[in-house]
């Protein structure tokens, strides 16, 4: 008897929106009561705002009364109270099983509490299922440990019957990743990033392996770390890869593209998502740019209630062609990544594609050096490949500065360093696009 699997991993993925909202409300009210008990920071923020969970009996009440908070509130609480958990949870909570953490790109990593598994794990299993993973299929997992240990996601995948192949997320693992792809024929890949794609490109330049053959068993690969650039998109298209981009949904969840590739799906049965004006806190209309504000309504430990993510996004609640009813969002940039040069706003994405278009700097590696809130000259550190350098280094820098300056209409100063040195400055899956030094 052959097994007929459902099209969607969870029936929640296609709930009619009115039912989805009912589910959100039930989960939200439960979350508020629980978080009041478990999170000292939440209790303080709500007390300071003169609000108690018992004042909230609907989503509308929540939208009107609940205070927002951000990462600085966590850091402030941590430092003021000498609380390593930033008030998000208590180390002596008997229900706590694991501490996970944020990437730490902007400072000390923020510890987050976990009980056995997180909403991130739930979401990714749905994404893998959507790509075509089914019980008994292998999945390549070149990931890292800080999101819940080596067992990160394992329990959710084990429940679904997937068999993970474990790799570290680093170029040194490529030969094993290729060997494992040939031997086990994985159907999906847990995470690929710009540094890994660049390493693959270098590998396939000299190896006998045909990338199309190596990757032929993959129905989908999750790509994350930063937006996929046109050059890397074309490169991976040529290898026959079907990349599904993923991005954070605050520090608690992830949003991933579906096969329609038209925005990141936020699983709204796991998180309540808002798009608010960064200054007035008023909701902005779907399609308009605002700050992504997220509330966990699923994870019993995650005290993220109206968490300001710093991400500037647009929301889309129109039905998606993939059949899911959950909203999609598009990232426009990070509030904190926005640089003002002579009054003109610049985001990293404004620079990346220009850098990547050059033969010598095609890896698209660069950092904006932010010396102050407002600057007179845009300083950019750009990575180059010495093997592709045909003239003097200074000429390359001058010409890049001229081109960027002409397009952005601001003065630009370029500092050139070799690609490999720049890659050392970041975590395995990305480099910080804005730095202070």
């Amino acid at each position: 008897m052959s097994t007929s699997y459902p099209q969607y991993f969870s029936t929640a993925e296609t709930l009619p929106r009115d039912q989805l909202r009912q589910l959100q409300e039930v989960r939200l009210l439960t979350t508020l009561a629980r978080t009041w008990e478990k999170s000292p920071l939440f209790k303080q923020l709500w007390t300071d705002a003169g609000v108690h969970p018992r004042d909230i009996s609907s989503i509308e009440d929540f939208e009107h009364l609940a205070p927002c908070f951000d990462k600085d509130d966590i850091r402030r609480y941590r430092d003021l109270h000498s609380d390593p958990c930033g008030g998000l949870f208590r180390l002596d909570d008997p229900d706590l099983t694991t501490i996970v953490s944020t990437s730490g790109t902007t400072g000390d990593p923020t510890p987050l509490a976990m009980r056995l598994r997180t909403g991130v794990h739930e979401g990714y299993v749905r994404d893998f299922w959507h790509m075509g993973m089914r019980p008994g299929d292998y999945i390549a997992q070149p990931v890292f440990t800080f999101r819940g240990g080596v067992g990160n996601g394992f329990i959710a995948q084990w429940e679904a019957g997937f068999i993970p192949l474990y790799f570290s997320h680093e170029p040194a693992e490529l030969p094993r990743l290729i060997e494992g792809s040939k031997r086990f024929r994985p159907v999906a890949c847990g995470l690929i990033s710009s540094p890994l794609i660049l390493a693959f490109e270098k590998y396939f330049d000299t190896a006998d392996d045909d990338p199309r053959e190596v990757f032929s068993s993959y129905k989908g690969l999750i790509y994350g770390g930063e937006a996929l650039s046109p050059r890397l998109k074309k490169l991976t298209d040529d290898w026959g890869l079907n990349l599904f981009e993923t991005t954070g949904l605050g520090d608690m969840m992830s949003g991933t593209q579906c096969s329609a590739k038209d925005g990141f799906h936020a699983y709204e049965d796991l998180a309540f998502v808002e798009c608010l004006h960064p200054v007035t806190n008023e909701p902005v209309a779907d399609g308009d740019v605002g700050e992504l504000v997220v509330t966990n309504i699923h994870d019993p430990f995650l005290a993220m209630v109206r968490f300001r993510t710093d991400d500037l996004v647009t929301l889309n609640r129109e039905p998606c062609s993939c059949g899911r009813t959950h909203l999609r969002y598009d990232i426009q940039g990070r509030k904190s990544d926005q640089i003002l040069v002579q009054g003109k706003a610049v985001l990293p994405k404004d620079i990346r594609y220009l850098v990547e278009a050059r033969h010598e700097t095609a890896a698209g590696l660069f950092q904006i050096i932010r010396t102050g809130r407002q600057m007179d000259v845009l300083a950019v550190r750009v990575g180059y490949n010495p093997e592709r350098l045909s003239g003097a280094l200074k000429l390359l820098g001058d010409s890049l500065a001229e081109e960027l300056g002409a397009v952005l209409e601001i003065p630009v100063r370029i500092e050139l360093v070799v690609d490999d040195e720049l890659l050392k400055l970041g975590p395995p899956h990305k480099i910080p696009r804005v730095t202070k030094q």
């Binding site: 996970v100 510890p111 060997e179 050392k424 395995p428």
Partner: protein
């Protein structure tokens, strides 16, 4: 390696024979058995219940680490994780400073060097803790540092090895592995059903096998690293 058995794998990790790295399919039963083995070794210590435990590793270390994470959670400890790389040494430092874990698993020389490059003293950061190291360079670097209880946690081919409180060699799971020594090189043979069975599997580990009674009370072979 002698080949696959009927036990289906639930994950695929890796192991080294000293010359080459191989894939290591593991079944859930094997993970559970190894988890019990770790729990038995951890009972030889007097450990503060519900304390935070820092586990430093890479994702490729799944076969070694997932059973440990399961053992720690089962016994009421609270694991947190950092990457076993120089780059992520900042996370190790942050967790040591802020969460003050009395137990640290998996420190290696890359992390020690990373801590030093950031201007930290590994001796000061690790003082007062039990530290299980993964490589000999880290062991030699920290041996004799006052206040650090230094132990080994290393792979012997496909077999996880861990030192008990006595610190007199790596315990290997007696029910799981037959451990032999040939001209100073350690081999292992699997004794129970596995996703991949082993027959006199070379481990690339040079050492001695000791079968004397360990003062910790855990029965079974120990490997003394040369």
């Amino acid at each position: 390696m002698s080949g696959d058995t009927s036990t289906p794998p639930c994950l695929v990790g890796r192991f080294s024979d000293g010359r080459k790295v191989h894939f290591l399919p593991l079944s859930d039963t094997e993970i559970e058995r190894t988890s019990w083995f770790y729990r038995r070794i951890l009972t030889t210590y007097t450990l503060p219940y519900r304390s935070v435990v820092l586990v430093i590793s890479k994702f490729e270390d799944a076969a070694l680490v997932i059973p440990l994470e399961r053992a720690l959670v089962t016994d009421g400890f609270i694991p947190c994780n950092a990457e076993a790389t120089g780059f992520d040494a900042a996370r190790t430092e942050s967790f040591l400073r802020r969460l003050n874990p009395p137990l640290v698993f998996g420190l290696n020389m890359a992390v020690v060097a990373g801590l030093e490059a950031l201007g930290h003293s590994p001796e000061q950061l690790l003082a007062g803790r039990i530290v299980w190291v993964r490589d000999e360079d880290a062991y030699r670097r920290l041996a004799g540092c006052p206040g650090i209880t230094l132990r080994r946690w290393q792979e012997v081919g496909p077999a996880p090895g861990i030192e008990c409180m006595g610190g007199e060699g790596l315990h290997l799971h007696d029910l799981e592995w037959l451990v032999t020594e040939d001209d100073g090189w350690i081999s292992v043979t699997s004794k129970l059903n596995r996703a991949l069975t082993f027959e006199r599997q070379a481990t690339g580990v040079r050492g001695r096998v000791v079968n004397t009674v360990c003062r910790c009370g855990v029965h079974g072979p120990r490997v003394i690293w040369d």
